[in-house]
Amino acid sequence: MIEIQNAVKKFDGFAALDGITLTVPTGAVYGLVGPNGAGKSTLLRCLNGVYRTDEGAVNIQGEPVWENPALKARIGSIPDDWHYFLQASTQDMMKLYRGIYPTFSMERYKKLEDAFPIDPRKAIRHLSKGMQKQAAFWLTMSCMPDYLLLDEPVDGLDPVMRRQVWSLVLDDVAERGTTVLVSSHNLRELEDVCDHVGILDHGKVLLERSLEQLQDNMVKLQVVFPEEVTEVPSGIPALHASRLGRIHTLILRMNATEAEALLAQYNPVLVDAVPLTLEEIFIYELGGANYAVKDIVL
């Protein structure tokens, strides 16, 4: 489990992390969402031991990450600007990773050779940005990490490779119980892979929920009331209501069963539950459309 308690990290007085508290359960795929400058990359750098927080604790499995080589050996990290040595090929970097990470698996490295169409002897600097990202995944996944920290991981990858990469990551989660913390400024991208989501803004966690919690707490319904009911009855606490012809679209803070029971009092002609997007959930969880969440999550 990854635990961050009241973490503060300041740069020249500016708080990039401003008292963040966040928990990533073991085996979870945790999506960290936020706009540029929210503190996502800073948080990940605190987690992989690059930055030291000014205040608060950054622990994995109860141990602080800072200057903890044994723990860091179990962390695989792919920053958005992955570094490689100027003259190095993927093969050269593999030798370094193999020497440094005790869990590095040559078997896995060989196996992943088919997944990533890269010439391992070619200098990485001569590869395209997407291919460099693939090389980063290839090497990191070969380290068999227990914790995977990914910062904008699929930026620059084509759709096929995105799917391939996510598939690899999720296989690891399923087979080895890998804990994944993935940051993105795009909520839609994380929708399909994350089981936990946290929103960061201005160095603070605005919201942190499991997908299950989110879906249990909010429902989106399309309702057709009897002809004499033209407006949504005042007894229905709709977070959002819109109308197209006779069809009312309502978003309510309750689960589907409670919502249907409530609407039944008004004898609706039709009640149909519609899946909520993460974006919609966050908008209304964070206080409705007036809150500038669109700026944060889109």
Partner: protein
């Protein structure tokens, strides 16, 4: 096993170590090749080349001094250059955000990362030196040479110096957040103490009356490592190659290298401590440590004020042809350039040109401090100008009187010291100006270096050009100056180590009016020297040193050169003969000397003074005389004797263009 333990604790990474050795091989190879060429390859070519050695002793001596010479000069240059390159290469990741993120995310402690990279560099240079030494030893052994300890000496010298400069550069890398800042810090820190000391002294020279720079204090020399280590190379030339003293000097020099090597180890520890506290996010900053930023900001400001500010002042003041210093102009120049330096440093730190709003207060503080320092010096708050030591404080005095001629020497005689103290006190009180030169002015300079009984030194230098209109105001001072310049004891102090009758060989006198040199030997020469001493005792000397007009009217344009023999240590237990000479200018007042010259056959009536010499008519006369003399000698075809004739005879030495010397026995 050991490395495994260290590795498991994250204190050393064998993989990173190997990576360093492999990645940067061109630099390591260059270092190795340069040393292989300079030592074993050179030795091989010398020992087995075409030279053909006469005997084994010569060959051994040549080989030894060849290797030893590489231990100082070449090793210093290599260490200064490659020490910095090694550190920049191995610790370049400090300066890149991506690189530092990658390296610090690796499962190795900061100490481990530092030690791994540091040891990679150290392993390379120690390995290079070991290979070089072994190959050289092999070549020597093949050539049948012994004394392999000299190769060991080279190894210790080279490794010690490289250890110091490499560690120094690593410390700079730990402080710098930008790649280019590493060599800049390295270069500046290497010369900082020496440079700042001299700039402060320059400020004292400009603002403190009588200030003169002392010799570089030992601490300044030690804190300027390139200078101190270069002295090992320069001073080596003071000893004959291969002499016992030469080897003793080099062996003693090992102590200096050892001290610097130890300092290098301390610097490494300091660099490690800095690195542990250094934040990864400082990559890209000019200065990585927050505590060092004010030091950088104000340090650059002060350096700019002292260097560029004073330079601007000197250029401007010189351009305006001013002779008197202007403290106000100096402060303006220093404050202006100090601010430029301060704000430039601030821009580098903030990475922005818009820094004025945030940093003007610091700039104001800097200007205030600069003004305060200049005012304090101008008002002589430290009491430097007023300080005249008491006779009881003084152990000895070195004096220099400069004017038309120069007299210098040293003395421990309390009475003579007292006379100079009186002069010193008068100079401090009267502060004569150093006006533009005027031929009727009393002008010159006085240098006084006191060695105090406390062991301290006090150096003063006063230049003056007292115009006729000011003479009255400085009558007592002028009298004291002239008295000292004529003082027989002062002259004897000047003469005591320079004019040695026992070693006198000849006295030469060039007659410009006749374009020939007279050479006096034996008793004649000794009589001339004795006559000079009598003139000194009689106070005939030095009357016109500060009086340019009197000098010109009374001093002869020719001078006497006293030649002495000396013996030099050849370094191999033998001595060889050498000679040195001292020149003396004399005036019409030197009655004893003139009489001695007359006795030696010189027509002193024909000697010309400087005033005559620069007189146009006289020059015409000299030209004519010289021409006639040459023509007459050539036409008579006078035979030139090979050796000196008995006493009383003369010998003329000359070439195709006429006689150039006449020997008078």
């Amino acid at each position: 096993m050991q490395s495994k333990t260290l590795s498991s604790k994250g204190l050393f990474s064998p993989a990173l170590f190997r990576n360093d050795l492999v990645r940067f091989w061109p630099l390591w190879a260059l270092y190795l090749v340069m040393w292989l060429l300079m030592v074993p390859a050179f030795q091989f070519l010398e020992l087995f080349g075409q030279n053909g050695w006469g005997n084994a002793t010569d060959m051994q001596a040549y080989a030894m001094s060849g290797v030893a010479s590489m231990a100082t000069g070449a090793a210093l240059v290599m260490s200064v250059g490659f020490g910095c390159l090694f550190a920049m290469t191995l610790f370049s990741y400090f300066t890149g955000t991506r690189a530092v993120g990658f390296v610090h995310a690796l499962p190795t402690r900061r100490e481990g990362l530092f030690l791994t990279h540091y040891l990679a560099g150290a392993a390379v240079f120690i390995g290079t030196h070991a290979i070089t030494a072994l190959l050289t030893a092999l070549i020597w052994s093949t050539a049948g040479l012994g004394e392999l300890w000299v190769i060991g000496l080279w190894f210790l010298y080279t490794t010690g110096q490289m250890l110091f400069f490499y560690s120094f550069a690593v410390l700079c890398a730990a402080l710098a957040g930008q790649m280019l800042a590493i060599p800049v810090f390295y270069g500046v820190f290497n010369c900082l103490v020496y440079g700042m000391t001299n700039l402060i002294w320059l400020l004292c020279q400009l603002l403190l009356y009588g200030w003169t720079n002392p010799d570089d204090p030992a601490l300044v020399v030690w804190l300027t490592p390139i200078n101190k280590l270069a002295q090992l190379s320069w001073n080596r030339w003071g000893y004959s190659r291969g002499s016992e003293e030469y080897w003793r000097f080099l062996q003693n020099g090992l102590g200096t290298v050892g001290v610097y090597a130890l300092v290098g180890v301390v610097m490494t520890v300091v660099a490690l401590l800095i690195y542990r506290r250094r934040h990864s996010e400082s990559a890209g900053d000019t200065v990585a440590m927050s505590w060092a930023k004010p030091v950088f900001r104000y340090g650059v400001g002060v350096c700019a004020a002292l260097s560029l500010g004073q330079l601007l002042y000197i250029i401007l003041w010189d351009a305006f042809g001013q002779t008197e210093q202007s403290p106000v102009a100096l402060v303006i120049c220093m404050a202006g350039l100090g601010l430029v330096g301060y704000f430039a440093a601030e821009m580098l730190l903030q990475k922005s040109f818009h820094i004025l709003k945030r940093s003007w207060k610091g700039g104001a503080v800097l200007v205030a401090v600069l003004i305060l320092v200049c005012v304090a010096l101008e008002l002589d708050i430290p009491g430097v100008e007023r300080r005249v030591p008491t006779a009881e404080e003084i152990q000895s005095l070195e004096f220099r009187l400069y004017g038309q001629d120069s007299i210098y020497g040293d003395s421990e005689d309390p009475e003579m010291i007292e006379r100079f103290l009186t002069l010193h006190q008068m100079l401090v009180e009267e502060r004569p100006k150093d006006n533009d030169w005027d031929e009727d002015a009393l002008y010159g300079s006085i240098g006084l270096d006191y060695t105090l009984k406390s062991g301290a030194h006090l150096h003063r230098h006063y230049s003056f050009t007292i115009l006729p209109s000011e003479i009255e105001a400085h009558a007592a001072l002028a009298e004291q100056l002239t008295e000292l310049a004529r003082d027989p004891e002062v002259w004897q102090a000047y003469m005591k180590e320079r004019f040695e009758p026992g070693r006198l060989v000849t006295v030469d006198m060039y007659l410009d009016s006749e374009n020939r040199t007279l050479t006096f030997e034996g008793d004649t020469a000794r009589e001339i020297l004795a006559a000079l001493e009598k003139d000194i005792e009689a106070g005939h000397t030095g009357a016109y040193i500060f009086d340019s007009k009197g000098w010109s009217a009374n001093t002869y344009s020719t001078n006497l050169s006293f030649y002495y023999r000396a013996q030099e240590d050849a370094g191999n237990g033998n001595y060889y003969n050498s000679s040195y000479s001292e020149d003396v200018q004399f005036s019409k007042d030197y009655t004893y000397l003139l009489a001695a010259l007359e006795k030696a056959g010189v027509d002193t009536e024909r000697l010309s003074t400087y005033q005559n010499y620069y007189d146009e008519d006289y020059n015409e006369y000299v030209k004519e005389a010289s021409y006639q003399n040459t023509y007459a000698e050539e036409s008579q075809e006078t035979p030139i004797p090979d050796t000196l004739t008995p006493e009383g005879d003369a010998a003329i030495i000359g070439g195709a263009d006429g006689p150039t010397a006449v020997y008078v026995g």
